[in-house]
Symmetry: D3
Subunit: 326 residues, 6 copies
Amino acid sequence: MTADTRRFVSQLAHNEAVSQVFLASEKQLRPNRNGNLYLQVDLSDRSGSVNTRLWNASEADYKAFENGDYVHVEGATQLFQGNMQLIASRIRKARPDEVDEADFVTLQSAEIEQMRHRLEEILRSVSSRPLARLAEGFLKDDQFMAKFCRAPAGMKNHHAYQGGLLEHVLSLMELVLVVAPRYPQLNRDKLLLGALLHDSAKVDELSYERDIAYTDEGQLLGHMVLGVTLLDEKVRQIVQQDGQPFPERLLVELKHMIVSHHGEYEYGSSKLPMTLEAIALHHLDNLDAKIASFSQLMKDCPNVDSSWTQYFNQIGRKLFKPASEE
Amino acid sequence: MTADTRRFVSQLAHNEAVSQVFLASEKQLRPNRNGNLYLQVDLSDRSGSVNTRLWNASEADYKAFENGDYVHVEGATQLFQGNMQLIASRIRKARPDEVDEADFVTLQSAEIEQMRHRLEEILRSVSSRPLARLAEGFLKDDQFMAKFCRAPAGMKNHHAYQGGLLEHVLSLMELVLVVAPRYPQLNRDKLLLGALLHDSAKVDELSYERDIAYTDEGQLLGHMVLGVTLLDEKVRQIVQQDGQPFPERLLVELKHMIVSHHGEYEYGSSKLPMTLEAIALHHLDNLDAKIASFSQLMKDCPNVDSSWTQYFNQIGRKLFKPASEE
Amino acid sequence: MTADTRRFVSQLAHNEAVSQVFLASEKQLRPNRNGNLYLQVDLSDRSGSVNTRLWNASEADYKAFENGDYVHVEGATQLFQGNMQLIASRIRKARPDEVDEADFVTLQSAEIEQMRHRLEEILRSVSSRPLARLAEGFLKDDQFMAKFCRAPAGMKNHHAYQGGLLEHVLSLMELVLVVAPRYPQLNRDKLLLGALLHDSAKVDELSYERDIAYTDEGQLLGHMVLGVTLLDEKVRQIVQQDGQPFPERLLVELKHMIVSHHGEYEYGSSKLPMTLEAIALHHLDNLDAKIASFSQLMKDCPNVDSSWTQYFNQIGRKLFKPASEE
Amino acid sequence: MTADTRRFVSQLAHNEAVSQVFLASEKQLRPNRNGNLYLQVDLSDRSGSVNTRLWNASEADYKAFENGDYVHVEGATQLFQGNMQLIASRIRKARPDEVDEADFVTLQSAEIEQMRHRLEEILRSVSSRPLARLAEGFLKDDQFMAKFCRAPAGMKNHHAYQGGLLEHVLSLMELVLVVAPRYPQLNRDKLLLGALLHDSAKVDELSYERDIAYTDEGQLLGHMVLGVTLLDEKVRQIVQQDGQPFPERLLVELKHMIVSHHGEYEYGSSKLPMTLEAIALHHLDNLDAKIASFSQLMKDCPNVDSSWTQYFNQIGRKLFKPASEE
Amino acid sequence: MTADTRRFVSQLAHNEAVSQVFLASEKQLRPNRNGNLYLQVDLSDRSGSVNTRLWNASEADYKAFENGDYVHVEGATQLFQGNMQLIASRIRKARPDEVDEADFVTLQSAEIEQMRHRLEEILRSVSSRPLARLAEGFLKDDQFMAKFCRAPAGMKNHHAYQGGLLEHVLSLMELVLVVAPRYPQLNRDKLLLGALLHDSAKVDELSYERDIAYTDEGQLLGHMVLGVTLLDEKVRQIVQQDGQPFPERLLVELKHMIVSHHGEYEYGSSKLPMTLEAIALHHLDNLDAKIASFSQLMKDCPNVDSSWTQYFNQIGRKLFKPASEE
Amino acid sequence: MTADTRRFVSQLAHNEAVSQVFLASEKQLRPNRNGNLYLQVDLSDRSGSVNTRLWNASEADYKAFENGDYVHVEGATQLFQGNMQLIASRIRKARPDEVDEADFVTLQSAEIEQMRHRLEEILRSVSSRPLARLAEGFLKDDQFMAKFCRAPAGMKNHHAYQGGLLEHVLSLMELVLVVAPRYPQLNRDKLLLGALLHDSAKVDELSYERDIAYTDEGQLLGHMVLGVTLLDEKVRQIVQQDGQPFPERLLVELKHMIVSHHGEYEYGSSKLPMTLEAIALHHLDNLDAKIASFSQLMKDCPNVDSSWTQYFNQIGRKLFKPASEE
């Protein structure tokens, strides 16, 4: 099914018959009040997800597919309390030929390619010799770049989808390109490498083949500590390759940008930013992340006829979306 | 004495004879251990200030000038513990013809004029009709503009000198000009007005004819509450002038940017930022203020032969200045 | 139906047939486990509210009335887990002649009139000339007084019902009358005006025609900032009327009482109380609000045979109600 | 020397010859820059204290008196930087006949007697039988009452002088008398006993024969924990005397008022207030303490020609004293 | 039914017929979507608890037993979403002869006896004369010891079962025995008494005949304040018995260990630890409590095939259980 | 001068003539009130330090030695305000033959050797194969062990002297040896390695040849992040040497113990402890550090005739030292 014919989750209306493929997650087998079992599962595509129920389900139904599988579903939509729900009459694992992956990714391969190209372009504008060597070391590392272009920037909040890390890092670099010239005391090249490195270990902190989750080392060490190790390994590699040393203090400064970029101890920074570039990186990262996550919260909010979103515990407030005519 | 011949405070070396005009502040009459009195005073020009002592002083010496006066001083410099000190043999009130005000201001009239011109240019690029009317209302208010171009942005921390408010606001607007286009969901015009308005009541919160100090209403109400009143008055004025109403909700949004721009309750914001523009303004303001204040702390630090500044209580850290060759 | 014959929510017992009018809110259409829909709604009168269900409901049932409507309900009560529930067999919009508004308001018109009369009496005892002028300006403003007598003091916590603002402000003034004489250093008249003004902008922060909710400007600016604007407008008005200026510093002090009355930054005060009256007002307001809200929490608690209320997250504790014989 | 002829510390002017008795504290022997020693000591009477220096002092001068002694001093006053200082030519221990104790106490015996009388009057108005028994138990305990009438309410902040505890407790009771009737849900008698008990163990937490200081058990346990023990002992005593039991739960409630009266964990309360009386007591205590301490800070502030006091670290703000004509 | 034949809750598998005795708690009568009622109850033995439902229940079923009763249950297990559930066909109050109390206690009488014996052994090794007297006073107090051996150490978190207090205190004493010798500056005997006393008033703070709950005085005063009273009473008793005084300062030190053992104000300590023994006791208590509670959380976690537990709000993290082969 | 004849700083009494070698630090040239200069310097040996002044000093005196130099001093002691001071008549750089290094180190070479030997003994008792390999890798690394045995455990607080790191780590291991057996769920070998590793990067975080100071990388990255790098390098080394892989997850667990050992975000931990060993290590480390630092504070306190130390800002309290007879 192509994007032309597919009914995306965000397009579903009340009382609509459905027969197409979704990505399954969070499946559960539950008893109803009469002791009969039903299956509950979240079905999603790139536009969103819909809570789905299969009444009178069996354990066989429950075991017929795994979370992360593509499933073919027949059923009908039902609206109540403003929320859309899907009542399924049948759920089965989808055949590969039924799946168009493009329906399930937020960022298309072409978009990702384009962003990667721009990232390379920017990094190749770095004029500091050791920083350019380092950037090149990452750009030529196919395995790293493959993961870097696929990883999300987080579990939730901002850029929490495949390719989100690349998107966030590129957005940050573009900010550096326009903001750094306004402050002559800032070193643009250090800032660009800081942008590349600060979240780079998200490639190891998270797993993101289908579901997005923390890896064990991600949960136990975090992307800031993992980022220092990742940088150490890359520097050792390029030093081995070209036989030239990497400036010690510059390396320490880069690591400092990584471990301090959350800005405050309470957000897991083990050090407060102490260099101008570390301070600027923290604020630029914060700016990009907050605009992205608040925009996302506004966009996802189901209160369509209100200027106000619901109250979000994680940010301690509601958000206000002015009418567009203003 | 012109800037050509003057020895600026930042240029004074050990054992140098001094005979020129300074701005006096923080004068005190103190007894030494033998019960004899001496006069202590801070003498400054636009490049910095130097602690000065007049041994064997009398109450007459103490009363011969006021804080905020220009004084002519004869004496010699003396260095110890890395700090420069001035031992005065004579301090008297300066005659007007001895004073070149340009020696005592951080920003020259020409610089201020240039910044004001650029501010007008930017504000006249606002295309939203009501926001352009509002901006024009401020630009044409000579009394407001005179104060706005003279006020500092604060008592200490960043931009704490005459013209500092204009400098900070303009810097923020330039940021808006390059950052807003990167986020289509942001309304550039609202952000520009937010930049103009957020600290505008510093013109009333502070007094800054010679010394910088809080006014009574500044201390009791703060520039965020005063800013709402200032905006209300301006809107009433322009509505009276052109007889057209000002959009209610837009006004509320502008006020919201003012009262929320410190971002957190603990910094005196009575509301958290709830619109995208309020969030962006808070982070851009923070970015500009932090880069300015940390740069200033590094510049002012007397530890000349160290990469580290002293520990600053107000930011809970030392700062690190990498050697320039990096 | 008059209060004599009505069965108030607080009087309903198990297995009682019900056929009378209620105020509807929080209606929802939900599916049960078999996919059949039911309607859930909160029905209230001035004594409390009861959760109600209409099994096998249709979308027509859902659309037959709005939240905030008076509805006539037939059904029967049912007790389980100590909670009363109403199982409705029929819910329809009530005819105006079926509704006795007195059944639905916490405070009767007569009570409100009496409180308003007492408020006027107290305010007219103010002897300071400018403060008396200001008080009179509010008392003669019919539109303001109408809203002031109808507004609640909050969304939840204390005095969260129509007339609650008047009740709270009057209670606070009565406290001022007995407490101020004990501290000669306190200015009784300033405190009385502070009591009037501190929450006065709740008339604009909240909407309270039927449901109590935040207005847009209330949510974005808060009653402290709105209160300063409201005071500014009133002062401008009375100055226009009698042609005499209002003392500048006194006005700043009044505004300071408004913006600092929550006492701490974390509760949204943009300034800490710095005058004796501001400090006293904060503590008296706190005293009245806490006694009112804790009393309410104790009264509303359904744990009838326990000295302990449930645990309340918002105050971080349970409350203890000693047996009355003590 | 009687109060008629004495020059109180608060009356001393510049260049005044002094020859009278003071109370000594904080004495120190210090070297000046030439290695010569001088003696520094604080000299006080009930109106305040003045920093005093005896140049060219010896260890014998240092040992000639103790902190807490009355000393006779000859010397002359000297004003600088707005502070009064006393340059002594001679300091010796005073003879008993030279000392009029009335010059050194804030509260005169007659005032204390009058307050004690009023305290008894109020406590004897308690109608609850067990609470009246308890109150009587304290009133008839001469040893307790002697300490209670002599103790200060604290080391610093509010009521930090002999008799201050009685003054604070009585002020709180007077508040209870006027405030409790406004809230029928409050038990006036419990509140009166709470007022008596809440700080009662300050008689053991502090030592206050001459200097005010913490006792070991005061520092290690605090007046809230000590207050529970003190109450337990008193109850055991009255039960032994009249052979009647004291109601268990009432005793727990009284103890709860003691241990929770600081209101928040961070101020050392081991429990949050959970009864209405505990909540009311906390807020009334806070009201009385804050008005007393802020008034004191304003009164003691040496900035005579300014409406602003200095910045006080302990309360995180300056205070504002409006001109009296307002 | 003996432990040999009983199927413990932790052993129950899917689709297993059940007919045996459980301890009932948290029973509720609830309507299902059709308005029919069902009974929900938690059934437990010493190995854990299982959520149970009796469909189509009546009020008579609800009233047939009380929380805390032993009930005989017939039904069958059912697994879904990884959770075991019991669908009961019949629930009746159990006859005494059906109940083997050993099935319902975490710690057997013999274990408790053994721990009590070891506790006595350790306490009798105290060589300080007054501390040995005090320890003996508790050991010979049969009523105290009976409660002390039965009480839990808390409502939840660590050692929250009958005998848990003894287990925790003994574990702490064993720590003291091995740790104190490593720090010669620590007084082992004071630490042993501190271990005995610090939580001793949990015997009064909690009720634990069947359910574990707070007593009124426990909730209103807490075990730290109650512990001081309990110690005072014991000291008075032993002084009466042997006519010798108890050293004052030592008593204050013991009380200080009690009131400061939570270590921080925010955890309800009214004083911070100020003696070496108080500091050591706080950290040892913390060590034992944290290891016990984190081990329990790991053990109770139903995520059997994951190294990670769920996220626990109370500790702000997930826990990681490495595979045993490591 | 040997330890037999030397007067250690801690032994100096009033009015004692001094002529011996000290270690100099914190030297400053200051003017006195007459404009004459004097030299101030801290002189120390292993027993403590004494503030010293050389009146009428010149810049030549100031430049005659550096901080960190051994200097020979002639002068006399002088006591005032309870503090010992040294008035020097001459200060010159000491000749190497005048210096006995043993007078200036807290821990003697023999003590350090003994501790190192015990450390090796304990680490060689590790039975887990990979952990034993790792331990051996460190023990055989002479360069690492030399630094490890010389480094302090901190700048101030606990074990802030050369050899302090070894002393602290060994003390922690001894705790592990006695505490781990009490909790079978704890892995003793992981804990021993955790003890070795947790502060191991203090060898790089600090410089400690003479003065103790932070290195640049220490200040910018901290010993937790540096410790992960140090561990990575060691593992790479041993894997290269014996060609066997190191278990991945075990390595992650060890790193987790390093990065979480401060226990809370606010103390710079970038992760909270999530394994039982990480939790135990945090609490044992805390126990050892707090006992060491509080003991040191008590020992260093100059209030010799009081049970109370001064108030320490860093721990928010005074400390109480009971008389020894107790």
